[in-house]
Amino acid sequence: MSLLRLCLIMLGLLALAVVFAVTLGETPLALSQYAQALTHPASPPGEVLWTIRAPRVAMAALVGAALGLAGATMQGLLRNPLADPGVLGVSAVSGLGAALAIACGLAAVPGAIELAALAGALLAGGAVVAIAVRLREPEALILFGVAISAFGGALTALVFNLAPSPVAIAEILAWLMGSVENRDWTDSLRAIVPMAGGAVLCLKAGQGLRMLTLGEEAAKMSGLPMARLRAYAVAGAALLTGAAVAGAGVIGFVGLAAPHMVRALVKDDPRRTLWPSALAGALLLVLADLAARLVPTDQELKLGVVTALFGAPAFALLAWRAARSWRS
């Protein structure tokens, strides 16, 4: 299938999912009320659709796209179908940043949590970039990511341990579970700037990712400026992940699953996996958020919980398949 056709199909599916996500919700609306919402955006049904649901759906789509693209980039870079932004430790340190901000009582300051999460992601991303230029082996980079991840987790546990009040602990926990509840349009606008930057970097790294199929040494001799392309890929994935965590908290497995939905359709090509993975990630997260809203529970399900419930078994399945193919 050609890349353009695949992207158009994915866009169509995403548009369909967005329409469903905006029209369906906890507040049931009659057909006449939908008509009213379309003609009079300021009417109460219009408020529900355009200021409550639509920004939330937009945020879910943006975060999903960012995570899907970051995942596809990391899988290409590490030549590993099990890689995702979590592997780099970027999500963990980003979550740590948010936890610190909340524990310091900055939750009321607008944008403070977001900035702290972004700072955490960039810090981890920067560390990974600095190391990645020196460590040529992808396995070494994964191990380094595991170390960052563990350290971020340990420091977050320390924040829990020393948190001043149970309220702060509850808030941190809510953040770490991930959600796009109560987002408005400014949240999307704030997220879109670092995401666009990250996307440009990842797409520029595309040819390098494709070349890495042949291994580190062949790629290095290929004539492509691999050190630079590798740095683009790592920085781009870090930026995308940071913006996603800043916008919606820690949401796992989307970056892992999205590339696998489209990889076979582009003949495994790490470069042409990038765009479709972003669209697949957006689709996944819009649907996951719709599920989180529609499943009738006393407490609304957290988006990160929904993706983890579906994502963890998917991860196990992918690991099983990868292990089998590595054995042969």
Partner: protein
Amino acid sequence: MTAAWTISGAKARQGDKLVLDAASLVACAGEVVGVVGPNGAGKTSLLRAGLGLLPMTEGEALLSGKRLDELSAAERATLVGYLPQDRRVAWNLPAEMVASLGAVDLPEAQALVVARERLARVGAADLAKRGVLDMSGGERARVLLARLLTTRAPLLVADEPIAGLDPDAQLLTLELLRAEAASGVAVVVTLHDLSLAARYCDRVAVIDVGRVVAEGAPSMALSPEILARVFRLDGALIETPAGPVLAARRI
């Protein structure tokens, strides 16, 4: 005439170990140079140092007369194509796309045209659309050889190109590399099979503990003394109708 590849007095370390100790190598257009030696002698290190993949503490390397450290990655790629020993392929790309990765200097469509032509040259034209992970090891080795030829470089360096191949594929690979040399390319290969090294190489460099200890025509470089001293083999090359064959036993 300028040699396609000159490595002179290369010293290199890996960790604390001195892996190259003033090793030198020259490869000229039209010849196949074989680098042989026991495991761990420094064959791969010599290639990697000469390509800029392993930093040299002393010595220098020239590609077509130009200092390696003054070349950009793109310039270097026009002067040398490299087939590493590690032939793992990460993703199941179609063979023609893998082969086209040899030509990053060309637009994608043109690179594919060159790639298909090179696939035909290695007898793998019918594999062009197949995924490389769906192939046998021998078929994949052909595709990667086509990728090497797609570089169109005046120097082709192949690290153990026949390791793990069946006898027919081994001979085919070496014949293809000989044909490249006949068309004016300099070819450098590392080999473990001394009979094939003697049969297919114009010159052989024997490397032992990081030094080139013998170099010249196969019958000279692989003399009984060298076989005994470097390879711990008691024997000699024997001429047969199919070419020289090593007859030897362990000392």
